[in-house]
Symmetry: C2
Subunit: 450 residues, 2 copies
């Protein structure tokens, strides 16, 4: 929380202690709804209830709209059904659908029943789309002009309708069957001659997405073409809604968090502010899976117990080979996964990228292998151990490059998220092959090492 | 590259083989500049030169503007100075500054000298700001209204000036000293009564940033308040420029990539499409540093050579304790680093977060420790080895939580990037303490283990 909001929060709490709800509301109404939302979210449930019950509906709706979905759900559960219905009717349709989607079936029903029929039907239509598709992001509150209108009449129409439409920075043009045929910016409209016809001003090369498009693709289209709003159509090219850039900014941050979490092996539900018991429950299955892979690596070591018994120093150098492989594999994995996420990696180049990472890995294995062998020699190890370290390092770092690049590419070909679980698979590879190459070579040359 | 662009690229290459530059240009002019840029970037240098030399300046400028900075630099180096100056004068001022910033001092000078004086001065002013600050992102091409104007006159002014200003979706209002005093959207303006004065329509609570604000902060303000444009002021509150949302979308993706790369231990310059020799050179120093930390962990193991010689199975279980610590540390690191990046983590809560992760680590260490001990027992290991494994697991996973949460928080307190190098420091911690706790406990109980 920023310093200013922290001060305002203390002021709010003092007013609440004095039961001066009116002054609290005057204070909150002066703030940007995003700030009001942050302050209200930090208050006790009882105080949240008192504020929302005395608030005027438009301000309450603006503030609720700015909260996280989980905070919205908490507040909705505090309030009476008619009050929730009133507030929700004042929110943007796409936000309503997201909020209702987070509630239990029973809560959804009681609120939808209390809402005006038209708003309820609209919300239900939007809820039918998956949250992470274009349909789940779009709002049906937009203004479409029909192609025969004149510029001046269009501006008049916008003047009348604008207050209810989420955005009018782009104006979309449809034919009489409501099929999308063009786009223009509000700027094009106001700089046009007043009598000019819309069809002569509009750009017919309008960029759009299908209602089932994945949100990652939506974000990439809007970012590629620098769009503020993107129209969404069904299979017959009917205009269903628009997606605005502010929702896409959230999507980009969400997708980046998802990738970072997946690479770090963290479940997506994890957050710093959830109870510790929940964090343990979320992370435990993953750590048990990690344990299974760790036993796999240990199993490889156990194959060479006899060699280690003869040459104990092998146990000292063993973690170096495996650890360097893990680092190299993580580097390759990071570069390739990010390349896939940003669309820099074409499918056909997959094999070339894998070959590239094998090359980088072997080259780095060569250099660090030489360094390791020299250090081993100077701390008094058998010179042949240096040779084994050198060779194992080249092999394992080459394999690290192969698995770090290959695993996300294969997951992608199988239509899975390339970041999902890749980290642990790669380090299992580098552990297993690190121990196998180092201890295996040592066993082959065991007579020279004793 | 998308399928459609791949087909268009082949068509372009065929036309170039027939030397039909005119048709190539007709084809490119029909595309969105982002698509034209992708196709042109994929052609040979010779063909790029031919196209740009025959292109009309506005289309060439639109296309160049959509390219990556490195692609822009490559093209600029192909063309004659007067042509480059012409094209650049047609680009948005902030893009010009970014492009020139990527050139050598000599190239900058020859191009600036060839540009019109006014444009050159403007570009130099912008280049004086650091690229990753508000000043580096802003464009000076905006329209500011003065407070006394009427709505109708303002629209007239916009009609005249709009074609040269980068965005007019928000209109900023200044006083006679050019100090920022308000904001309104184009939408507010066109729905206002024509005779209404600007000062009565505008919102005086305008959100702005100082010219030296870091780009991460700029992105967070724009995303928090859902802004399409953000005004930039100097210390005396003079309006210097505006930042548009499309530039911020790029910043968000850039910052996410940076965090992902840092967590993965990948140098920021690394990309899939650079020469392999360059990749090796970028990654090698980091891997040599990793090698040093690996030797540190190996040094710990060497302290216990005698114990391993007596009980060889220690070498088998050793990687399990260290590896599980590494996984747990990476999870904690990922959650805390992302929390810091998204502003979810307040400074004062730092200690609580560290305690939280120690708790999660120990709890998961308890469960996986029990599982490990049971498995060890069933594969015939000494029961006391199970006890050692169990205790070492709790200790090391607790330490993993401590270092995974503590290291980024400490880096942040030192004003360093919390993701920078954290990964390797955390795994060094978990390796060292993993070996130390497991082999140390085993050495204490060595008589029971033989």
């Amino acid at each position: 929380m920023q310093e200013r909001n922290r001060i305002l929060r203390v002021a709010t709490e003092n007013l609440l202690k004095k039961n001066d709800i009116k002054k609290v509301i005057v204070l909150l109404d002066k703030l940007h709804p995003a700030d009001a939302a942050e302050i209200v979210s930090s208050l006790s449930e009882e105080n949240q209830k008192r504020i929302f019950e005395s608030w005027d509906v438009p301000h309450a709706a603006d503030t609720l709209q700015e909260m996280d979905e989980s905070e919205q759900v908490d507040i909705v559960e505090l309030l009476s059904t008619p009050l929730v219905a009133d507030i929700i009717e004042d929110m943007a349709a796409d936000d309503v659908a997201d909020l209702l989607g987070g509630l239990s079936k029973r809560d959804q029903e009681r609120i939808l029943t209390a809402m005006e029929r038209k708003d309820a039907v609209e919300a239900m239509k939007l809820m039918a789309h998956k949250a992470d598709t274009a349909g789940g992001l779009m709002t049906p509150e937009f203004i479409a002009l029909t192609k025969g209108m004149a510029a001046q009449d269009s501006i008049e129409l916008l003047r009348k309708k604008a207050p209810t439409a989420e955005t009018i920075y782009y104006v979309f043009v449809v034919n009489k069957d409501n099929q999308l045929i063009g786009v223009m910016s509000l700027r094009d409209l106001i700089i046009a001659k007043p009598t000019e016809r819309i069809e002569n001003i509009m750009n017919p090369n309008v960029i759009f997405v299908d209602v089932n498009t994945d949100q990652e693709e939506v974000a990439s289209v809007m970012s590629r073409y620098d769009l503020l709003a993107l129209p969404v159509v069904d299979q017959e090219h009917h205009l269903l809604g628009i997606i605005t850039i502010d929702d896409v900014v959230d999507v980009i941050e969400e997708e980046a968090s998802e990738d970072i979490y997946r690479l770090g092996g963290v479940p997506r539900e994890e957050r710093l502010d959830i109870p510790i018991s929940l964090s343990i429950r979320y992370r435990l299955p993953w750590m048990v899976f990690n344990l299974a892979t760790a036993f796999l690596a240990a199993g490889v070591v156990s194959l060479f117990e006899k060699s280690i018994a003869k040459v104990v120093i092998l146990a000292v150098f063993m973690p170096i080979v495996a650890g360097m492989g893990g680092n190299m594999g993580t580097q390759a994995l990071t570069v390739v996964t990010r390349g896939i996420a940003l669309g820099q990696l074409e499918f056909k180049k997959g094999l070339r990228v894998i070959a590239r990472e094998i090359g980088i890995g072997s080259a780095i294995g060569f250099v660090t292998g030489v360094i390791t062998a020299i250090i081993a020699y100077f701390i008094g190890a058998n010179p042949y151990l240096g040779l084994v370290l050198f060779l194992a390092m080249i092999i394992n770092l080459g394999i690290a490059g192969f698995s770090g690049a290959g695993i996300p590419i294969i997951l992608r070909l199988l239509n899975q998220d390339p970041a999902l679980g890749s980290g642990v698979i790669v380090t299992t590879f580098t552990d297993v092959f690190g121990f196998l190459s180092f201890l295996g070579l040592a066993t082959l040359l065991i007579k020279l090492l004793i």
